[in-house]
């Protein structure tokens, strides 16, 4: 069964999740990955969306962070102040998902601005929940498509903190959470190097070459010594994911 790069990214992210995880889910790839995990190997995974829906089990993917479907299938729905105080800051989330317009080699993210803050070249949407998701969740998974405009050597603005300028910077700030532990892209999976915290390619998706990955990154990319190949999506994973997307299209008239 052939698959797209985006399907591979979603499947690779889904496989990292377990029944014991409590995930703070963002819209798009994270939402697809979390629900794919729930519909395959992790039926008891707990999904939380920042709109306040606790332990939600949508049958179709939401188009927004606050779709009615999320509320209808939730255990309950709390206010947004409660979500950020008791649930996120409360330290109850094991995995937070983030993405961004730009990422650097230490998995810091920019979703605020390109160019100077006061005279922006491109004004991006801003951080939203990201600054505190990055610091308060047990660990962070980042999903982003590769490309030299996204994987950049230096960020004009740090919206959410990854590993700062390298190993030990989180601890210096008093952070006790692990920060970004995986970056799942359309081409490969990266992890912070245990010694330096610099993002390192640990597995290439099937059919992807080192050169392709290097071409999609704005810094000189490191590869793990024991570089693996990401196992291709199974037929079952693809079936479930495609059915999920088909249900979503049918419900919304558009893809999520």
């Amino acid at each position: 069964m052939s698959h797209t790069h985006t399907e591979m990214m979603t499947v690779a992210a889904a496989r990292l999740l377990t029944n014991d995880d409590v995930c703070f889910v963002g819209i798009g790839a994270p939402s697809a990955a979390c629900n794919l995990a729930r519909l395959t190997h992790a039926p008891k995974i707990t999904l939380i969306y920042e709109s306040g829906t606790l332990s939600t089990r949508p049958s179709v993917l939401p188009l927004s962070i606050g779709d009615g479907e999320l509320c209808d299938t939730a255990l309950t729905t709390v206010s947004v102040p409660e979500m950020f105080r008791y649930w996120l800051q409360g330290g109850r989330i094991t995995i937070g998902f983030l993405g961004g317009a730009q990422i650097d080699r230490f998995a810091n993210l920019n979703t605020t601005v390109v160019g100077p803050y006061d005279a922006p070249k491109v004004r991006l949407p801003g951080g939203g929940g990201a600054p505190e998701i990055a610091s308060n969740c047990g660990q962070i998974f980042i999903t982003m498509a590769m490309g030299t405009r996204a994987f950049v050597d230096s960020l004009p603005f740090i919206t959410s903190f990854g590993h700062g300028a390298g190993k030990g910077d989180r601890e210096k700030l008093g952070l006790r959470t692990r920060g970004p532990t995986k970056v799942i892209t359309d081409l490969c999976v990266l992890e912070p190097d245990p010694e330096t915290s610099e993002l390192t390619v640990v597995s290439l998706h099937p059919g992807v070459t080192r050169e392709q990955v290097e071409a999609g990154c704005g810094w000189t990319l490191r590869f793990a010594a024991d570089l693996a190949e990401t196992p291709a999506p199974t037929a079952q994973e693809l079936d479930v994911l495609r059915e999920l997307h088909a249900r979503t299209r049918k419900a919304h008239g558009v893809a999520a």
């Binding site: 188009l63 206010s79 950020f84 605020t112 004004r123 991006l124 600054p131």
Partner: protein, 285 residues
């Protein structure tokens, strides 16, 4: 006690030029009809406050209602940029827009502190990030017990809060349900408030003992505007107009298509134009 007014009277009663206003809604229950009325009444120099400014603030900014935006995420959810917001920030069109930018956690805490009549809120945030470098309102306090330094944000105390809710009863109590966002906090934090509602009922009837209700004496004015959240949604009444969110990207991208859309859909319309969005799902429900 809340007064029952028309939408036009309600906007006149709670929103004046130069005021700060929180028109809140977290995907659900965004007060679009009220925003259109503010545009029709030509409000100017507003400080717009919202965690997630989206289409209705894009419209108000594009029409020159705002001089300042206090926010934490300004985009078209799942679609992309807000082009009118970007045009104001990047090019000063139709006027300069000053930004006061926070994180969601900060904004949620700031509304909560406002509702609690505190001057500021404390939270654990902004570790290692750049926003405090560009927003002097982000400060800190030291815990008097542990010595930990925590982030602070000034309480939000808007001159006006404007929200959309499902139901009001005849006494003017307001029922919220589903994704309730920060709307209750916004109303309690504000000096004046206007609530547009889908329905006015004799009484709320059987309900959960802990239902989310704003008592009549915490609300300034209520206006009956069925469909008034569209293209946002009202749980149990009508669904989100996802197509319109996508369509907005094209409408708002250019100044002239934007102006034409506003003329036809806001300036030449009234609140009753929203009723058509309320109707179909109601029949289906």
């Amino acid at each position: 006690m809340a007064e029952f007014l028309s939408l036009a009277e309600g906007i006149e009663a709670v929103l004046s030029d130069g005021a700060s206003v929180a028109m809140e809604g977290f995907t659900h229950l965004i007060p679009h009809a009220a925003g259109h009325e503010a545009i029709r009444q030509g409000r100017k120099r507003l400080t717009l406050i919202r965690m997630t400014p989206d289409l209705v603030y894009d419209q108000m900014i594009g029409m020159g209602c705002a001089e300042r935006l206090i926010f934490s995420w300004g985009g078209n959810p799942g679609v992309g940029s807000l082009h009118r917001l970007r045009d104001a920030v990047e090019n000063g069109w139709p006027n300069r827009l000053e930004l006061e930018e926070h994180s969601h956690a900060a904004m949620a805490n700031a509304y909560e502190a406002g509702a609690a009549n505190l001057p500021f809120a404390v939270f654990r945030g902004y570790k290692g990030v750049d926003l405090p470098k560009v927003n002097p309102k982000i400060r800190s306090v030291t815990c008097p017990y542990t010595g930990e330094v925590l982030a602070t944000v000034p309480a939000l105390r808007p001159d006006a809060a404007i929200i959309h809710a499902l139901k009001a009863d005849r006494e003017g109590n307001v029922l919220l349900e589903g994704i309730v966002g920060v709307q209750k906090e916004a109303v309690l934090a504000a000096t004046r408030s206007l609530v547009t509602v889908e329905e006015i009922v004799d009484d709320f009837g059987e309900r959960n003992a802990n239902a989310v209700i704003l008592p009549s004496w915490t609300v300034t004015a209520i206006a009956h505007v069925p469909g008034g959240a569209y293209p946002s949604y009202a749980h149990g009444y009508y669904k989100r107009g996802n197509d319109f969110y996508i369509a907005w990207d094209k409408i708002a991208r250019e100044r002239d298509t934007f102006a034409a859309w506003i003329k036809a859909n806001v300036l030449e319309q009234g609140p009753e134009a929203f009723a058509r969005y309320a109707a179909p799902a109601r029949q289906a429900a």
